[in-house]
């Protein structure tokens, strides 16, 4: 049972444009959501997170939006840069600080120069 889903395995975006990565979840008990970025031969790197009490969190070029009623979150990257090319994982946990994360299958983002 895939509780966190990333339905787009890949996404290509022109440099300078907006990248939008989507994530859906089925478990309404999830309370905290995170995005991780992964380069080849490296472990995932934390990007940004959001608590279920918020609907938006922003950190520089990265913004995460949460729609609890739709059980949907998205990551916006503006403007997209070549160094953003990586695999992005959406993850969820039952509460803040709980390191038992449930991950999606990832979206490979390619930024076209």
């Amino acid at each position: 049972d895939q509780q966190v889903k990333q339905n787009s395995p890949s996404l290509s975006v022109q440099e300078g444009r907006i990248s939008i990565l989507n994530c859906d979840y089925t478990n309404s008990m999830f309370d905290y959501f995170l995005w991780y970025k992964k380069y080849p031969a490296e472990g995932p790197t934390f990007l940004i997170s959001i608590s279920s009490i918020k609907d938006k969190n922003e950190d520089g070029r990265f913004t995460v939006f949460l729609n609890k009623s739709a059980k949907h979150l998205s990551l916006h990257i503006v403007p997209s840069q070549p160094g953003d090319s990586a695999v992005y994982f959406c993850a969820a946990s039952l509460d803040f600080g709980n390191e038992k994360l449930t991950f999606g299958t990832g979206t490979r983002l390619t930024i076209i120069p």
């Binding site: 995170l34 472990g43 995932p44 803040f96 600080g97 390191e99 038992k100 991950f103 299958t105 990832g106």
Partner: protein, 117 residues
Amino acid sequence: DAGVTQSPTHLIKTRGQQVTLRCSPKSGHDTVSWYQQALGQGPQFIFQYYEEEERQRGNFPDRFSGHQFPNYSSELNVNALLLGDSALYLCASSPWPIVDIMNTEAFFGQGTRLTVV
């Protein structure tokens, strides 16, 4: 700061054998979690250790066991290896949330690529 370090980086084992993977957490972190990432999948939570005890466990059989040492480093042991155990094994460390509530996000190591033949 060396971050989270894992050893070895690659490993080939034969079906039925046993394997031990090692993890040193980031400086200042006392909680270690292990994940299995199969090809084309996201990481799946195996278990978490804090104060040398297993605190949480995912849906993995008892063939998967672990240990945490007083210096917070950890080992993942897998017995009776199956071909399906071939995966990237990731270790993540974090501070126990009660201690450091502002910085609880997990830091991951580069992983150990296990191939079972």
